[in-house]
């Protein structure tokens, strides 16, 4: 069988992409002695001790729990706030609507670091430091504009006549929104939720600034593993693998929405 050049290029590229992930997995299944001792393409001395450590030690696994709590909180808040806002932008013309819409987007142009200081000061004053809601609210600054932007694109694709037909049929606004409108833009909600989830999951700077112990996310836990006894390479690699899993799961569940969402809306 002849092998096509395009297939070779593709294989090389995929191997290149997968290499760091494989290496992380490789390390997570080795002992520290093997990692630091030399070079091996696969674990000679296969061990699950690293994963066992993480899943049994609260100071490790609470990192995941904390991260998931504020990420889910943030996604729910962002979508809940963005839905009515996007509806207004897609359906009504009002003074300065286009400027406001653009201004929303410009929020995303600033690096999160810019807002670390004001958020820290503000949340200290409000006694919100080291709570899940603090991180969730801080991430809203970036996620609400994004969600509004994405949802507006999807809503614009729904003819206004559907709304009017629903009023004429006697639907009240909340009922129309929940029963007719939201199912029509389910793809958009999926896409928007995906982007909110991913941003909040990977964002490190704000979540580190705003938490200390109780709401400390996994990313922060991972950066603070250098102890008196040196670096625990294996456990760190295992933590990395476990951090990839929620993202992979979310992508798996919304993959159909995302594909259609990219085709239909604005992402």
């Amino acid at each position: 069988m002849r092998i096509r050049p395009s297939a070779i290029v593709m294989t090389v590229y995929i191997l290149f992409l997968l290499l760091p992930i494989y290496w992380l997995l490789n390390m997570s299944l080795k002992t520290n002695a093997e990692i630091t001792g030399g070079f091996s393409l696969w674990p000679r001395d296969l061990t699950f001790r690293n994963f066992a450590t993480i899943l049994s030690d609260p100071s490790w696994y609470m990192g995941y729990v904390n991260s998931l709590i504020y990420v889910v909180l943030n996604t729910v808040i962002s979508i809940t706030v963005a839905l009515p806002a996007a509806y207004a932008f897609s359906r009504y013309r009002f003074l300065g609507d286009k400027h406001l819409f653009f201004w929303l987007l410009t929020n995303r142009m600033a690096p999160p670091a810019v807002f670390a200081l004001p958020f820290f000061q503000l949340y200290s004053a409000m006694n919100l430091i080291d709570t899940h809601i603090a991180v969730a609210l801080a991430h809203c600054l970036f996620n609400v504009p994004l969600a509004v932007w994405i949802l507006e694109g999807f809503m614009r694709g729904v003819p206004k006549e559907i709304d009017e037909t629903a009023w004429i049929d006697g639907y009240s606004f909340p009922r129309f929104f929940a029963r007719i409108f939201m199912p029509l833009i389910a793809n958009g909600i999926g896409v928007a939720a995906f982007f909110c989830f991913m941003f909040s999951w990977v964002e490190l700077l704000l979540s580190r600034t705003l938490t200390t112990t109780v709401a400390k996310p996994i990313g922060v836990t991972m950066t603070r593993t250098v102890s008196a006894s040196g670096m625990d390479w294996g456990v760190l690699a295992a933590a990395g693998i476990l951090t990839l899993i929620p993202g992979a799961l979310v992508i798996w569940f919304v993959r159909n929405y995302i594909a259609r969402g990219f085709a239909l809306g604005r992402v």
């Binding site: 003819p159 006549e161 559907i162 037909t165 049929d169 006697g170 639907y171």
Partner: protein, 367 residues
Amino acid sequence: MVLELKGVGKSVAGRPHIHPTDLRLDGGTMNVLLGPTLSGKTTLMRLMAGLDQPTTGRVFQNGEDVTGRRVQDRGVAMVYQQFINYPGMTVYENIASPLRILRRPREEIDRRVRETAEMLRLTPMLERKPLELSGGQQQRCALARALVKGAGLVLLDEPLANLDYKLREELRMEIPKIFEASGAIFVYATTEPEEALLLGGNTATLWQGRVTQFGPTAQVYRQPKDATTARVFSDPPMNFVPIFREGNRICFGATANAPAEGALAALPEGRYIAGFRANHLRINRHSGAAVEFDAKVLVTEITGSETFIHVGHGEDRWIGLVGGIHNLEAGAPLSVWLDPAHVYVFGPDGELVVPAGYALAPQEKVA
């Protein structure tokens, strides 16, 4: 139900979309809004429905002022030009949705949905989703949803415009039957004069946001109040030629003239504009009184058994509709004939001075 518009007008950003309009639509009547695109049919309909609020005037239902009342509480139904259904629901659920909002008992909903579906021949499609249906079926589903709740006012905004010829014919036959069964006020917007004539009832002609005439359809067609109404209610468009009366003769342009007889006998001396419909322009001497014009063929359009002949006569362009197939060469000279009894005479401002003689002939009353 009786729907009354009193001085209802709508301006957007200072530009009038609908000039103040008085209109009274009685219960159980079919009312056609006839006008070209952008003449204000849809805007007027949205004002009737309550989807838009008028800038001036009041809307009354059964004598009660409903201006500013929510659409939900108005008891109206509407069908759009686009096929608007709820894509996520089955046809059954689509039709049932207005009744579910009204919290009708389950058995009643089921009975009425099935009756309406039967009337619109949707019974085999009840369990399907609207987007799986053909265009005609989708529009019938929208019609069924509009009719099922028994609204007193049913607004149809060019419901057949997006359908192909065959389906359009089919639904056009059905709509009058549905209307008779419902007993509601029907308002039907269309750009096609032919559709207005087929539906009968009353017709309001619209031109640039103004209702130029409202009355029984046949009367509006035969006795248009002014040149604008005649132009709107004529397809192909009405032909015009300047005329003047001198003594006992009516002169058509520079070349032709005819004795002032019949309806034209009473015409005072002066200059006028004469209007006549395409089917009254002939290419043979069809009556003794016909006036002959020397014209030039511009285009011929053959549509099956009839031919539209576009001719130029001096500055004017006319369209004649003649039976049979005539393949005339563009640019060739052609004699055309016009019977003065088929001519509407309009004054310089477009107002009707003398209606065409044939239109005054006795005709059956249109209810």
